[in-house]
Symmetry: C3
Subunit: 244 residues, 3 copies
């Protein structure tokens, strides 16, 4: 049993984040929250999301799993105006998920979740912790797109830097303590594939504070909240290690 209502903007924000990585997803549903753990097909990035009951206008569920094709859910989002409420209800007889938006009813077949195992989330203890407004990261990402090589993230006690070095040209975003809240004793530095970082950073809505956990040649972890704090997201991206 699953039945819930939420604002279309809330659903849109969540779907935008997940679909940077994957289109067919399994949500684990409990009476208190929906959770998701997923890796992309290339096993380069992983996302964990927990959407608590409080993100919904109404929420009523028993323990279950829900396999969704996010492309179809995006189709439903197009039918709803900003601020409009979307109602979701699982039809127990057919097993389909029924969306209602205004006078529209959309019956959606679900994906079989058999064999969709949750990925194992690695326990990491990363040295540096940096808190930045997403707008700064988005400026940095737009800047490196002209170079489109690996992106280097660096941090030291007094700075955080996102940079990209091409054969002849280079670009960097450098933030000091006036913009970023930095916590690290030593300098750390790792390199990442540009498209993954660009996709997730562009999908995070304006006004979000992102917590970056960084280390030397280690994955980076972006932690942030959506849905006015009622949804928590953790995004883990594997580093590119320069072979020399």
């Amino acid at each position: 049993m699953f039945s819930a209502e939420l604002k279309s903007d809330t659903l849109k924000g969540l779907v935008n984040i997940i679909s940077t990585l994957i289109d067919e997803v399994k949500f684990t549903i409990t009476p208190e929250c929906m959770t998701l753990k997923a890796v992309d097909a290339a096993h380069v990035a992983m996302i964990e999301m927990e959407i608590s009951k409080g993100a919904f206008e109404s929420y009523s569920a028993e323990d279950t799993e829900l396999g969704l094709d996010l492309d179809k859910v995006k189709g439903v989002l197009k039918l709803a105006g900003a601020g409009e409420t979307i109602k979701m209800e699982q039809d127990d007889s057919t097993g389909k998920l029924v969306f209602k938006v205004g006078n529209i009813t959309r019956r959606m077949s679900l994906i079989d979740t058999t064999g969709m195992n949750d990925p194992k989330v690695p326990q990491l203890n990363l040295l540096a912790n940096i808190k930045v407004p997403i707008e700064e990261l988005q400026k940095g990402i737009r800047a490196v797109e002209s170079i489109s090589d690996h992106i280097t993230l660096k941090a030291g006690p007094e700075f955080f830097e996102l940079s990209c070095e091409g054969d002849t040209d280079s670009v960097s975003l450098k933030l000091d303590a006036s913009t970023a809240k930095i916590s690290t004793d030593t300098d750390v530095c790792s390199m990442f594939p540009p498209e993954y970082l660009a996709n997730i950073i562009k999908a995070i809505p304006s006004g979000t504070q992102v917590n970056i956990e960084l280390d030397n040649d280690y994955p980076v972890k972006l932690v942030f909240a959506l849905a006015e704090g009622e949804a928590k997201v953790s995004y883990l991206l594997a580093p590119r290690i320069e072979s020399e």
Copy 2:
């Protein structure tokens, strides 16, 4: 002889509707109005339009015919700002139609209307009559686009429904008497090709009330007014009859 002035927005609204079906058209012109009867190349839909003198800022004509390429007229519309007046005048010496927009003069060759016969309009007496705001139909059309199979229109004494059933998914817009003004004694139902219905419904401007005449496995007729009531449109679409 033909000479007229009208607001660019009025002309745009009329051209948008006709060009969902056909690009080269023949207008029959009288001292009182312009009329058009046309079918599309596949003979699936038919449009009848009557634009009365009152839709124009000024209008002066003798009985004549005017063959127009609507693609060229759209080019003229791009030159006019909202609210700007477009002047049309037939040049008696060259036979061309001269458009004037501000300081711009556009001389347009006409299409030879010899052999462009008006289609015969079938007399239909359809059982159900439903009056709906175009915005609701447009929401329904956006919703069925994710399925893109035949669209079913149904009506009964208490409801009007636009729906689309795919292999696994389905979508419907269901209106009751609070949104649609419905007049029918029995239930009626016909199926239609989705692209035709989508094109005409999207082309009708916001704020328009559309009168839908519907029956069982019969054509549907959409009747509506444009140009503040000074232009009347009747759009007839053939049904798809399911062979079993």
Copy 3:
């Protein structure tokens, strides 16, 4: 040595004009101004630009040359919001040009200007002189796009006309002394390739007065100011001479 700051909108306006003709350019820099002379690859049009010190927020330079890829500069412009200041500084050790926009640093390799000789600017003494608001020319250009044949520019003591004659259709923009300030004793007329004229006219910002110098089967010269009068542009376009 070269170091300067300017508003992103100013730089954008200048780059838009030059890049209608050419992407890789050589600027000649003096302590007082930057100048550019360039022809397009087909040698059909030529541009001269002088950007005086006053167009910049700050400007400090010795005599030098700067070879720039405008595509890369456009990438920098995308990083700056309207009204934001862009800082440019030549790095004497690497020779690269360093752009700074907010917290972003973009190091750009320069183009080797060896062998990039300035084109010789012909001395012309054209009969007619017409001053028009760019908005009128832009309307004329939009109008002729439906015909896309050679564009004819004509002027007489009482009129200026931009027109285009196709096989069956034609279009013209005709201005009188109420819109254009015309100075010529006799009628003049030349024909031009439509794309070149369209590209430059579309690139000139709204609110600009353009001075057109015109003669019989001779190049046309468009002279206008950018950057609130601190940059002067002269654009010369070769005529198409009808062979009969």
